[in-house]
């Protein structure tokens, strides 16, 4: 009991000691990076709409997302995207680029452990939850869809 109290007090004390960084610069950076990535997406969307006027809007969107995903994988491999991430924070995570980076970065990193046990096994160490929750969630949504 005494120990719990001591730990509680210590945690509170440490919390008060942690330097309060200014939130605004990092929020602004996230806004900027996220906004720019989305604007690039819009650019690609317009480009594909112009090139392939026969495609439906949803197909053009898929093409645009696939292009962004591909570019991000490439930037991850070259070693640029982690710099963007360190600067932009959530601005680099929330766009689909974050998902793409979370798959490609462990793939590149764990290459040393071999193609099967390195690249293939470790590819989903970070993005696994996204795919699992995505599949489970979509099935739940499908059930809901049956009744509405």
């Amino acid at each position: 009991m005494d120990k719990n109290k001591r730990n509680q007090n210590y945690n509170l004390y440490v919390e008060s000691k942690v330097p309060k960084t200014k939130a605004w610069p990092s929020l602004f950076k996230a806004f900027l990076v996220g906004g720019i990535i989305c604007a690039i997406g819009q650019g690609l969307f317009d480009l594909y709409s112009y090139l392939f006027p026969n495609l439906a809007e949803s197909e053009v969107t898929t093409c645009m997302l696939m292009t962004i995903i591909f570019i991000t994988c490439l930037l991850t491999g070259i070693g640029i995207y982690d710099v963007v991430g360190a600067w932009g924070g959530a601005g680099s995570v929330i766009p689909i680029t974050g998902f793409s980076n979370s798959i490609s970065s462990p793939a590149v990193e764990f290459k040393k452990e071999g193609i099967i046990y390195g690249i293939c096994v470790k590819m989903f160490t970070i993005a696994g939850p996204v795919i699992v929750c995505g599949v489970v969630g979509s099935i739940v949504c499908g059930f809901v869809g049956l009744f509405i």
């Binding site: 945690n11 440490v14 000691k17 991430g85 360190a86 462990p106 040393k112 970070i126």
Partner: protein, 346 residues
């Protein structure tokens, strides 16, 4: 008693340190023996680079001391990788009897303390104590892939690339190991793995307090009290904790993690890792003690004893700190290695 006073037989004969390119740009750059230009050391993986690094450090330290590998009786070593592979593989290459240690970032002090005890008890003549860490191998084991885009919180620390080896011997040198204190494992309930400084500070506080009271010394008796890798936040917390125990840390207190990096470097709270105290001890502290600028130094390496599994399961982070007291002995000349060898030849 936690503190063991030695019988004036164990000397720190020589030390050697290698650090990575970033650490080599820091304030201590002139003290390190060698600064890597390429932190892969031309190896195909960062784990191999770390092994190569440790191997180079140990071999160079032995060379620098004027001894031969065959003169070394034991190799005390450890590192941060799982199953302390870097040290074991180094021992394989060196073909030395190996005593593998793990106290996370406190491994250097533990290795020093145990090797000093071995010498002091007359069990052997020369031993080498070494640890090292590599930023990139630690990063992929403990955190995220290197190319992963994530932002570190402001309390995070930067694992250093680098390490150091000390040759402990019964051959007299200017630096004697006077006393060692083995720390208790102390846990104040911090569970944030990005705030190691706060998790380790209570352990450092406990060990320093125990050492001072057992040795009947004051803080002012030391020219330098050096903690391993508490970082900026951790050392501020330590100062507060010590004040709470009615011990005022003066200007003679410093932290390796804070010393090794520049303020302009983007390393958050400072350096961390087992190599942190090892490289600072075997460069800056060794140099200053040989010159006689420091006459009594207390090295307190601090370690956080969690694993990735325990922290994922929400366990709190236990800390440990080991202390080694070094004293300056001006009467011993530098040529004592040559002398003792001559004696042997006669």
């Amino acid at each position: 008693m936690q503190t063991i006073k030695l019988k004036k037989k164990a000397y720190l004969l020589e030390g050697y340190s290698i650090v990575g390119p970033l650490e080599g740009k820091g304030p201590l750059k002139d003290y390190f023996d060698y600064i890597l230009k390429d932190d892969t050391l031309k190896e195909s993986s960062f784990e191999k680079s770390e092994r190569k690094l440790l191997q180079d450090i140990v071999i160079e330290a032995i060379n620098k001391s004027g001894l031969k590998i065959s003169d070394i009786d034991f190799f005390f070593g450890g590192d941060l990788l799982n199953q302390i592979v870097s040290s074991s593989y180094t021992a394989r290459e060196l073909n030395l009897p190996f005593i593998g240690l793990y106290s996370a970032c406190a491994t250097m002090a533990e290795a020093l303390a145990l090797s000093a005890l071995f010498i002091d008890c007359g069990l052997c003549n020369n031993v080498v104590a070494a640890t090292c860490t590599h930023f990139s191998s630690a990063e992929r084991q403990y955190r995220f892939p290197l190319e992963f885009a994530n932002q570190r919180p402001p309390t995070a620390q930067w694992t250093i690339t680098g390490g150091g080896a000390s040759i402990i011997s019964n051959i007299k040198s200017k630096i004697r190991i006077n006393a060692v204190t083995f720390g208790k494992v102390i846990d104040y309930g911090i569970s944030d793995i990005n705030n190691m400084g706060a998790a380790m500070a209570p352990a450092a506080c406990d060990t320093i307090k125990a050492h001072l009271s057992n040795m009947k010394k004051k803080v002012s008796d030391y020219d330098l009290i050096l903690t391993g890798d508490l970082g900026k936040l951790g050392s501020e917390i330590l100062i507060d904790l010590m004040e709470h125990e009615k011990i005022i840390m003066g200007k003679n207190y410093a932290d390796c993690g804070c010393m090794i990096f520049d303020k302009t470097m983007r390393v958050f709270m400072g350096g961390s890792g087992a190599g942190c105290s090892a490289s600072v001890l075997n460069s800056y502290v060794l140099y200053k003690m040989k010159k006689g600028d420091f006459k009594r130094v207390l090295l307190v390496s601090t370690g956080a004893l969690m694993s990735t599994t325990t922290s994922q399961q929400g366990e709190t982070i236990p800390g440990i700190a080991h202390a080694v007291e070094l004293v300056y002995e001006p009467e011993n000349t530098k040529n004592s290695v040559a002398k003792s060898k001559q004696k042997k030849d006669v």
